[in-house]
């Protein structure tokens, strides 16, 4: 069996999803694909079920915030085909006004807590998630702390105030 290359993965994906695959690059040799957020689960399921690809392990699921982009919030999946020892990275972008994307828990059970974490820090809503609530931060928290508009330093901090330093 010939080794699985990025070109084969990309070819299979474009043949299946066409314009749903928006752009691709390969930084440090890792195939990175930006795709339409409406087909995220379809892509994961296709990669999982395909007999030659077998991307059956999700290494990571996380969020990212680019405040200057039109679609500000990103959801990133890292998939690993253990059979072929090939990895791919998927990015799906959503707007801050409507930060919804379908849950990946239907394909990977391990997405459960990682989606909760992504919701906790970026406020991304995973439609269909069985139990979408905060996982790491305090339940009373109202903001999503890793969004860029959130101030980095705690407002309750007093010992760094200017008047302590004669400023």
């Amino acid at each position: 069996m010939a080794a699985l290359t990025n070109a084969i993965v990309l070819e299979k994906l474009t043949a299946k999803f066409g314009t749903g695959i928006q752009s691709h690059e390969a930084p440090y040799g890792m195939l990175t694909i930006v795709a339409d957020k409406n087909i995220n689960v379809d892509i994961l399921k296709f990669l999982y079920d395909d007999e030659t690809l077998q991307f059956q392990f999700m290494t990571d699921l996380c969020g990212i915030h680019y405040p200057h982009q039109e679609l500000e919030l990103g959801i990133i999946y890292h998939l690993h085909s253990l059979q072929n020892n090939v990895r791919v990275r998927f990015k799906f972008f959503v707007s801050a006004a409507e930060p919804n994307i379908a849950t990946a828990t239907t394909v990977f059970a391990s997405a459960n807590w990682q989606e909760r974490e992504t919701f906790d820090f970026y406020g991304i809503i995973f439609d269909g998630h069985p139990d979408l609530r905060r996982i790491l931060n305090v339940d009373e928290m109202e903001a999503f702390p890793l969004r860029k508009e959130f101030p980095l330093e705690d407002p309750n901090r007093i010992d760094k105030k200017d008047y302590f330093f004669g400023r």
């Binding site: 790491l136 931060n137 305090v138 980095l152 330093e153 705690d154 309750n156 901090r157 007093i158 010992d159």
Partner: protein, 178 residues
Amino acid sequence: MADIQKAPDGIEGPGFFATKLDDVVGLARKNSIWPLPFATSCCGIEFMATMASTYDFGRFGSERPSFSPRQADLLMVMGTIAKKMAPVLRQVYEQMAEPRWVIAVGACASSGGIFDTYSVLQGIDEVIPVDVYVPGCPPRPEQIIDGFLRIQDMVAKESLSRRGSEEYKRLLAKYDFQ
């Protein structure tokens, strides 16, 4: 180093010695403080050294650290307290019987330290009243002992009516304790 304990001021005669009850109780209490180590990070490691033979915390009457808040007199908070830990700390404090004292050991417990961020409590005095702050990141055992000696001074001089006073009730009310 702590001095050998002297008797409190009083009137002495053949076969009797009269002094204030406050002083006697204070003397007894200060030399039998049971601390509850609430250690979450590196300051806790310094406290382990403080408890061990070189520094021998037991010399000051604290031979027995209490790992239940119900028998403890002194809550020693050592290390970073995450906001998620704050309700736990409050519960521990609530379970302690009066009279109780609190010492914040290290920069994190005192002010949040280097962790000026959304997840860390900016000093435990946001949720419970604190009697003594020990600076340092982490403080050396000598500093922890110094902080403990300050607590001993406070314990020795505390009036027996303080815990029932209106002022003390106001202090607790400020922190939303009953």
